[in-house]
């Protein structure tokens, strides 16, 4: 039987694959796709050999710089990016956790000044799996299971 695509193909653009199902809408928010005027299709709870279920996003005519896409590493550390030109995959990339994270998550420490004033949060990533980050301002550690997305 011919294999059928679960989310229809795009001619040019980017496919973000292997997103955890729970992270789909966080990825959309982090990449600010709600403001993107190009055609976007996505699927969730799709079958996956590696992850059992996964989400996928296809964005037409939109291409991402590494530092832009690495922001999603916090929520989708195993995501893969395929760059598509004329229906062909011309480049495959994996997401890398950046050394510093600006914005995206709030500091876990309720006494941190970033939770009181209008300040863009800034963290140094201390470890990847699980993710631990040190707040540039209050110097406290925020762990993966304590993260709140802005």
């Amino acid at each position: 039987m011919e294999k059928q695509l679960q989310v229809s193909a795009i001619k040019d653009g980017t496919v973000i694959d292997h997103i955890p199902t729970k992270a789909l809408f966080k990825v959309i928010k982090i990449l600010q796709l709600e403001e993107c005027s190009q055609m976007i299709t996505f699927g969730n709870n799709l079958d996956s050999k590696a992850m059992k279920t996964k989400a996928i996003i296809k964005i037409a005519n939109r291409f991402f710089a590494d530092e832009e896409v690495n922001k999603i590493a916090l929520v989708a550390p195993n995501a893969k990016l395929n760059t598509i030109r004329d229906y062909e995959v011309i480049e495959k990339r994996v997401v890398k956790t950046p050394k510093e994270i600006f914005g995206i998550v709030s500091c876990f420490n309720p006494k941190c000044i970033t939770n009181v004033e209008n300040i863009k949060t800034r963290f140094e990533v201390l470890s990847n799996k699980p993710i631990t980050m040190k707040c540039f301002h209050c110097e406290k550690i925020t762990n993966e299971n304590e993260m709140t997305y802005l």
Binding site: I113, E117, C138, E139, K140
Partner: protein
């Protein structure tokens, strides 16, 4: 020109620590130097801290500077709802240096990002209080003649006490420190510091008993064991009288040993220790003025 601030103790290099030690000794020998003549220093105390504020203001006065500021936020525009951002923006237009204490953690780092003049953190919540650490180091330098090969006993609340963590971080920069931690299990030194010491191959020992093990100490650094730190009040009752230093415990200690305490003291050093020549905590507070003169002179490139 990029301004240099002092927010965390790790903002300074070893060379800068040693420069502060040299300058503090110079100011102690010649305290009245008019280096700040014509300069305005802002002391912004968003929460009261009489001891730290008076120490800084004495340092500024000794250097011939003028002071503007407030000693608690109720007498500032913060009570009208002004943001820290706006207060710092405004004050940095008036003064040459900001010295601030604020209850929120990270506030001083943020102020240094907003300000175009240097900022000295005089305490941001439970986070950092680097001038305290520099005066602690100056006290060690003065009494031991060096910051190398110091056997340092840290006693009391080693979990939440910011002074002990900062002192540990600073002393790591010097040769062959030995750390002894004496604390109840609930207030033990956090793992992150022990892992850091282990990764650098630096010796440390943990004790929950406060006995004649202190005979090996060059410095005993006492801190308060506060009741509100304990989840279980029964645990506090068990340990509250264990971590008290008494004069009789000092019999076998080394001649060069000195007792430090960031003050205020409650009962953790018995008053019968005060007349012992090894009690150094009141002189330590006096050293704070010279250390703060040195920090100000360094940040304003006056020395």
């Amino acid at each position: 020109m990029q301004t240099k601030s002092l927010i965390s103790i790790t903002d300074f290099t070893k060379e800068e620590y040693l420069k502060i030690m040299r300058l503090a000794a110079d100011f102690e020998a010649n305290p009245d130097q008019n280096l700040l003549q014509g300069k305005v220093i802002a002391t912004l105390f968003f929460e009261p801290s009489t001891r730290t504020r008076l120490s800084f203001e004495t340092a500024i006065n000794r250097l011939g500077g003028k002071i503007i500021g407030f000693s608690d936020s109720s007498s500032s525009s913060v009570s009208k709802g002004e943001t820290l951002h706006d207060t710092i923006k405004m004050v940095s237009n008036y003064a040459d240096l900001i010295i601030m204490r604020h209850p929120m953690e990270g506030s001083a780092r943020y102020a240094s990002e907003v300000s175009n003049i240097p900022v000295i953190n005089a305490g941001d919540g439970a986070n950092q209080h680097p001038s305290q650490t520099l005066l602690d180091m100056y006290s060690i330098m003065k009494t031991q003649g060096t910051l190398d090969n110091i056997n340092l006993f840290l006693v009391g609340d080693l979990k939440y006490g910011r002074t002990v963590h900062s002192l540990l971080m600073a002393m790591l920069q010097f040769e062959n420190p030995i750390f002894n931690f004496i604390a109840p299990a609930e207030l033990a030194m956090p793992n992150e510091y022990k892992l850091l010491l282990a990764s650098k191959g630096i010796k440390y020992y943990e004790h929950d008993e406060f006995t004649d093990i202190i005979n090996a100490a060059d410095i005993i650094y006492m801190t308060r064991v506060q009741k509100e730190r304990f989840i279980d009040p029964v645990e506090y009752e068990k340990v509250k009288n264990i971590y008290i230093l008494r004069n009789e415990m000092l019999k076998g200690t080394k001649e060069n040993m000195r007792i430090l305490h960031p003050l205020p003291r409650i009962n953790e050093i018995h008053t019968d220790v005060d007349d012992n020549p090894k009690a150094y905590y009141f002189t330590q507070a006096k050293n704070g003025v010279y250390a703060r003169m040195a920090i100000i002179a360094h940040l304003l490139n006056l020395k």
